[in-house]
């Protein structure tokens, strides 16, 4: 089951579980209807039209708090439900800014522990009931209920109360100051209390149909029809507060689990958008008159996790040697071509706080052998594998089945590590089994990836308190890093954290708790008639309400 990098700001496991070879495309000719001239784009946005979007997974629920696969809900759900403010994907030069959504303005108390939102008064649910501060409080209650067990509940840990002070004014009260306060308050869409408050929280996980049957929305689109495993049809919500947008009348998400089938339908004109075109299919898509290609850097990065509790990986010098022994540039060239680059930091290169001064460690097997020898690893019995205290440097390097890039990378790493006398045995695990060995810490080394959270939170992956309880899967522990992360968490604004973030990136580069492999671009195939996408690191469909369709012919 594919899990895609979620558009929400929390970290996510990128997908790619369905990766069938598309090499067979080379043999076939295009179907060829006349393509639009493209001249209509100059005329600017126009209202009306229906588009069809290909998607791999079906929506599982219409309640964000019960969603498990992130991707499907976010693409569809964020068109129906709204946040208080809309996080903008503009964090290249500075921390993300926010656009008004259900709230028009917000202000902090002097001690930075109370955050007041003023809600817009013209927002109503699709049944005509106004959106109020009561809905905001109800949402917080649901988000933090153990019976609902929302996977994002941790973002609400520092929120002590959400107080309704007037029908359209709500105050979030925090227990501590932190740079993520605003994002923590904004996490999660606002839910309809009058419609969903009727069902006790204890029933939520057993009654998914209730939320579909009682679906009222406040966003630009509402649900017209859902046929499980087939399609989700959204139509313009006439009660959405913005009279101008959305432009499109109807958006149909067609569920097509097979990627190459999606690409076929993009090329025949049956689909207007296919996300994440496989690299092997790119030449065909680029050659099409009907489709244009839009590429953008994503937030995700791939790496090899070393299990630092394993004595072989516990020394930083040895981990540096491992990184030096892996030809990451060759990996990027082979797997991604011009769509990838070697990753150098847990804060990806196009984000404002990225440390540009970190150069990727070179591929230098000779230096790697020296470092390993200095740490006591030598091939004493002449079998080609180095040993220390009689223990050979041999381990399983795990990747998940179906993710072809990672499997290829594991095989390349095996070959390269062999040249310095390390025996890395590729081992493919089914995703769920792999996830279990991650959380249990029963792996030796594993190739993995996730999407950087836009909060620039580094705690979940690198703070020692997250070992066993969070996502510090390499079990990395450094008092210096812990202290800096804690120091950063006491700042009221993330913008003030830049010096600390730079320092943290240097320390992580020095300690190499993981060997960073690549960052890659996402490539979407888009009908030339469709305009205004502005696909971004949050999500391709983030700005769906601004998309518009040029008339055919």
């Amino acid at each position: 089951m594919p899990i895609a990098a979620a558009p929400r700001r929390r970290a996510a496991l990128p997908a790619g579980l369905l990766a069938l070879s598309l090499a067979l495309w080379a043999a076939c000719g295009p179907a060829g209807e006349p393509a639009p001239s493209g001249e209509g784009a100059a005329a600017g946005p126009r209202r009306g039209g229906t588009i069809v979007v290909g998607t791999i997974t079906d929506i599982e629920t219409f309640n964000e708090l019960l969603d498990t696969s992130s991707r499907a809900f976010h693409d569809v759900g964020y068109q129906m439900f709204l946040h208080l403010l809309d996080e903008q994907p503009d964090f290249t030069e500075h921390p993300p800014s926010f656009a008004p959504e259900l709230a028009t303005s917000w202000e902090w108390s002097d001690d930075h522990l109370a955050l007041t939102f003023h809600l817009r008064e013209d927002a109503v649910w699709s049944d005509g009931v106004p959106v109020t501060a009561e809905d905001v409080r109800f949402t917080w209650e649901a988000q933090t209920s153990p019976e609902v067990a929302w996977d994002g509940a941790y973002t609400k840990e520092s929120i002590e109360d959400v107080e309704v002070v007037a029908p359209h004014t709500v105050v979030f009260r925090f227990s501590r100051v932190s740079p993520t306060q605003l994002l923590d308050a904004l996490e999660g869409v606002v839910l309809p209390k009058h419609a969903w408050g009727k069902l006790p929280f204890s029933e939520w996980r057993r009654n998914a149909d209730f939320f579909r049957e009682n679906l009222v929305v406040a966003g630009p689109y509402r649900l017209e029809r859902w046929t499980p495993q087939q399609e989700i049809v959204l139509v313009r919500n006439e009660r959405y507060f913005d009279p101008e947008q959305p432009y499109l009348d109807r958006v149909i998400f067609r569920i097509i689990p097979e990627k190459s089938n999606q690409v076929t339908q993009l090329l025949t004109g049956d689909l207007h958008l296919v996300e994440q075109i496989p690299r092997t299919a790119l030449p065909r898509v680029r050659a099409s008159e009907r489709v244009r290609v839009e590429a953008f850097w994503h937030r995700s990065y791939a790496f090899i996790l070393w299990n630092l509790e394993d004595p072989r990986f516990s020394e930083a010098e040895v981990r540096r040697a491992l990184t030096l022994a892996i030809d990451r540039q060759q990996m990027v060239d082979t797997l991604w071509g011009d769509l990838g680059r070697v990753a150098t930091s847990a804060i990806v290169h196009h984000v404002w706080a990225h440390d540009d001064s970190i150069e990727p460690m070179p591929y230098d097997p000779a230096r790697a052998r020296e470092l390993l020898a200095a740490a006591g690893w030598r091939d004493r019995d002449g079998d080609g594998v180095i040993e220390k205290d009689g223990v050979p440097f041999a381990f399983d390097l795990v990747a998940n089945q179906g993710n072809q890039e990672r499997i290829d990378a594991v095989v390349m790493a095996q070959e390269q590590l062999r040249r310095v006398g390390i025996d890395a045995r590729p081992r493919m695990l089914e995703f769920n089994a792999m996830a279990q060995s991650l959380t249990e810490g029963s792996f030796e080394a594993m190739i993995f990836a996730w999407a950087m959270p836009t909060t620039l939170d580094l705690r979940y992956a690198f703070h020692s308190s997250e070992i066993g309880a969070g996502s510090n899967f390499s079990r990395y522990s450094s008092p210096e890093v812990d202290r800096l992360i804690e120091e950063m968490e006491r700042l009221p604004e993330i913008a003030q954290a830049e010096p600390i973030l730079l320092q943290l990136q240097q320390l992580l580069h020095r300690d190499q708790p993981m060997t960073l492999l690549w960052e890659s671009q996402r490539v979407n195939g888009v009908s030339r008639r469709l305009h205004g996408l502005d696909a971004n690191v949050l999500s391709t469909v983030w700005f769906l309400r601004r998309w518009w369709l040029e008339p055919a012919g």
């Binding site: 498990t68 087939q230 399609e231 309880a469």
Partner: protein, 322 residues
């Protein structure tokens, strides 16, 4: 005959119980845990723990088994999907018609193609036509189903776009009249049913051919020919009737292959069937759905075997007397 049916039914129920119990323990003992995927992007252990409590997965396995058994056997309640919170029975019932339609159509294709080709090859044994049929059937039999599906899409939906490559209905089919809707459905059914049916037909051709060759050499066929019957009558009436006995059995036994195949075809052609539902449940370790889907498929397979035996008894008097 009634005693035979009752005996077989009792054995079938016992078998079902054993299959389900074994599945229950196997999926719980296999690595991976439903809460890992449920716990969201970061595989957060704290959330996973909460979910285990919510779904009762933190209780001893024996207790979980007894609870599940009691709810299924006594209350007839198969539970709720851990993954999407919908009743398991609704999920499967929603997916069943699509799979039944696909499987039945594929079965038609399988026999409509397999029988005549098998007979034709047997009649022309050793001739170029026989060779061609054997090569084609071997190709169909050995080609991976997903690849056959992708090729079919490339040929008939892209290079020569005459058939839709996915889904049961076209965009906007809801507004069509009843006949146009039926035509739309049949168009959408064409590629998946042909892919699955042809892939299964490969084996049927070879089976029928071999059986017919044996039969055509038997004494009674020589007698029929000596009586001066037309070759067509000899082959299609006298020989084929006997060749059909094992073919009928094969029909019952081919249900597992049909279900297996429909899983792959459902994924390739975005067909909303049981196979996809079961596959997603397995990946997500959605225990209630896996168990109900297993029960359903196991029941179908057992019923298929039973039917094969009964049909065999119907066409072969020796079995009835035994």
């Amino acid at each position: 005959m009634i005693a035979l049916v009752l005996r077989r039914l009792a054995a079938a129920l016992l078998l079902l119980y054993l299959v389900l119990t074994a599945t229950f323990f196997l999926i719980h003992l296999a690595p991976g845990d439903p809460t890992v995927l449920l716990a969201g992007d970061r595989i957060n252990p704290t959330v996973a723990e909460r979910l285990r409590t919510v779904y009762g997965l933190d209780r001893p396995l024996r207790e979980q088994y007894l609870t599940w058994l009691r709810s299924v056997v006594i209350e007839g309640d198969w539970g709720v999907s851990l993954h999407n919170g919908r009743p398991v029975v609704d999920l499967l019932a929603g997916a069943l018609p699509a799979t039944a339609l696909l499987a039945f159509s594929a079965l038609l294709v399988q026999y409509a193609v397999g029988l005549p080709l098998g007979v034709a090859a047997a009649r022309r044994r050793g001739a170029p036509a026989d060779g061609a049929i054997r090569v084609i059937s071997l190709l169909l039999y050995s080609m991976p189903l997903f690849w056959l599906g992708l090729m079919a899409i490339l040929l008939f939906a892209y290079a020569w776009p005459v058939l839709p490559p996915s889904h049961m209905r076209a965009v906007g089919a809801g507004e069509l009249g009843p006949w146009a809707r039926l035509a739309d459905l049949l168009l959408h059914l064409a590629l998946p049913a042909l892919t699955l049916g042809l892939s299964l037909a490969g084996g049927t051709v070879r089976f029928v051919r071999n059986r017919m060759i044996e039969i055509l050499e038997e004494d009674y066929i020589r007698t029929a020919r000596a009586k001066g019957l037309s070759e067509r009558r000899v082959v299609w009436v006298h020989a084929l009737r006997n060749a059909l006995v094992p073919v009928v059995q094969l029909l019952g036994l081919s249900i597992p292959f049909l279900l297996n195949g429909s899983l792959i075809v459902e994924v390739v052609f975005s067909w909303p069937g049981l196979g996809r539902t079961a596959f997603q449940a397995i990946v997500a370790r959605d225990f209630p759905v896996i168990l109900a889907a297993t029960a359903f498929t196991a029941a179908l397979v057992v019923a298929g075997n039973l039917l094969a035996d009964l049909l065999h008894a119907a066409v072969d008097p020796r079995v009835r007397r035994a």
